[in-house]
Symmetry: C2
Subunit: 347 residues, 2 copies
């Protein structure tokens, strides 16, 4: 059994320094902590986690809060990627993560209070931003550390916000489509309540208006089910054929692509398709989809780093972090010439 003294000897420091590293003590520099943790790992030294947590009154656990049905959240590639980024950042600093999800505000609220009271988590990351949210309000009131992946709606500096600039991203993809020669663009969205949806609609509208095109009638609302998506598409195509359909996220995009296929439309020959949120759903689609990548892994990593820093330094200045976005061009918007196909040739 490797003891704290063995680690201290190997690291050339006193046993009390090693002990303070285990307890994540403020008086030890980050560099020293990382160096000594590496030596612990290589020597196979493992402190008793429960004992450490009791002494430090910390759980070394970060809670992730998702606001949607549990099952839906688990299968959405966006949340999987964010979760992956958060876990990676946390693991590096010796923290675990715990996911909580619910559709019902009251259930979620009860669970969060419980997690705080039993000292199960040291801080939270909220994976949504919504006006008048009771969870964010409560955490602010009791001064419990949290970071939001989403928009700073209130501008009150009550929390750290990590987000993309969704107005800009939507403006950018609309400009890209117009520059590529597309003129009749329709946007399909299954949400207009969350900040991210509002901003993407705003960016789309602004980009069109700047080129003298009215966005009126070009933004269509659907529910997240096949029948609703089919009806919206029938409505769009009954008034002639648009050039390109832009969807709010990858799941709705998959439904649009599937319905077009069943209706006998070819992408991009008959109509092009584009969406926000890159994932395996868009990468492996038929055909692979042009997307706006919002880097969910990066959003998660930044949020993870920020919440741990906030737990260690509760008085630090609350800042906002904006993660860039970029366009990934794939076949769903390529107007290929017949002789430059790079796919399998039909025999």
């Amino acid at each position: 059994m490797v003891t704290i003294k063995d680690v201290a000897k190997a690291a050339g420091v006193s046993p009390s320094t090693v002990s303070r590293v285990v307890k994540d003590h403020q008086g030890i520099s980050m560099d020293t902590k990382r160096r000594i943790r590496k030596i612990m790992d290589s020597m196979g030294y493992s402190p008793n986690i429960a004992a450490r947590n009791l002494v430090t009154n910390r759980s070394f656990t970060i809670g992730l809060i998702i606001k949607s049905a549990v099952h839906e959240a688990v299968l959405n590639p966006f949340f999987a990627e964010v979760n992956y980024g958060v876990s990676e950042a946390c693991r590096k600093e010796g923290f675990s993560t715990l996911m909580t999800s619910a559709n019902d505000d009251e259930d979620l609220f009860g669970e969060i209070k419980d997690m705080i009271n039993s000292r199960q988590v040291d801080g939270f990351i909220l994976l949504y931003s919504k006006e008048g949210d009771p969870v964010a309000k409560y955490l602010t009131e009791i001064n419990f550390p949290y970071v939001v992946i989403g928009k700073d709606i209130s501008n009150s500096q009550d929390a750290i916000y990590v987000d993309n600039d969704n107005v800009y991203a939507s403006h950018m993809i609309t400009d890209y489509l117009l520059d590529e020669g597309y003129s009749d663009i329709r946007m399909i969205t299954d949400n207009d309540i969350f900040a991210v949806a509002k901003d993407r609609i705003k960016g789309f509208s602004r980009a069109l208006e700047k080129r003298g095109v009215s966005p009126e009638g070009r933004i269509l609302k659907c529910r997240n089910d096949s029948n609703s998506v089919r009806k919206v598409l029938e409505e769009i195509f009954s008034g002639g054929s648009p050039d390109v359909i832009l969807t709010l996220d990858g799941v709705v995009n998959a439904r649009v692509v599937s319905e077009l296929y069943q209706g006998g439309y070819r992408i991009p020959e008959d109509v092009a398709t584009v969406t926000f949120n890159d994932s395996p759903l868009t990468e492996f689609a038929s055909p692979p989809q042009t997307t706006v990548d919002i880097f969910p892994g990066e959003l998660g990593r930044e949020a993870g780093n920020e919440i741990i820093d906030l737990i260690r330094n509760p008085d630090k200045l609350k800042k906002n972090i904006i993660i860039p976005t970029s366009i990934i061009e794939r076949q769903s918007t390529k107007r290929r010439m017949p002789d430059e196909s790079d796919g399998m040739e039909r025999v």
Copy 2:
């Protein structure tokens, strides 16, 4: 602040009974535990987790071990579903889950030892089954509780196995296709090492042989990338058109469907497609795919229940659990007549 005495009074039991429920003591029945936990929740009573864990020498945490690149695992819907099932089962019994993933055997092994030594987990669920696996061997040696989601290769009763019958499932889908009138079936697989792949290949071969068809030349190996999938498809179609392509899992199926689309083939008119593992990838494909659902959420729930039961009763008999599979019929194998389309009509 709600105390242990308040809960005892409300539940009509002694404070020491409540204390034993908190510590998950063996002497209290499951029914009583559930009843008192419900009362604790409704009263907002939260024991100090770190203190409880130190006293009980338990972490109330289950480790999930995945054998593949971390990022790949996180984005595979199969693992997301299994994880969801495990988490649900664990949450009900007051346990958390912790996921560990690595491609490198040595890294994974080191991390697992570390988790055991620091008493971070009370048991493991292995999400794979592979001959000569060092992790399973080590856990058996030190007599640490674990459950395998996968095949019992050794038949040694060293662990509890939760699995589907993949030979049967593959036989069933092949029979289904033959009964539907398909005669020229090809199987595409990106793996022949893991037990699940071996069994699905076996079931496919057996079903063909039973009908007097030789499986030779009908099982094609590819890597999990687009170029490799395209080459295999070109090879298949260069010798004439098969009726239907059966793939080993949803990710490879998505690549096949995408390459067929780009090659100008219609599904199911030109060739039908079928795959194991139902998920949003197959449900939202173009067109929606006929699949063999292996109920990954159920695999996870069973494994979660079993590992907790094993932690509480270390001497219990090691059993194997087989979860059924079923066929979900979708458009990718429907040979529809022109006038019975249920999709959007092209104008």
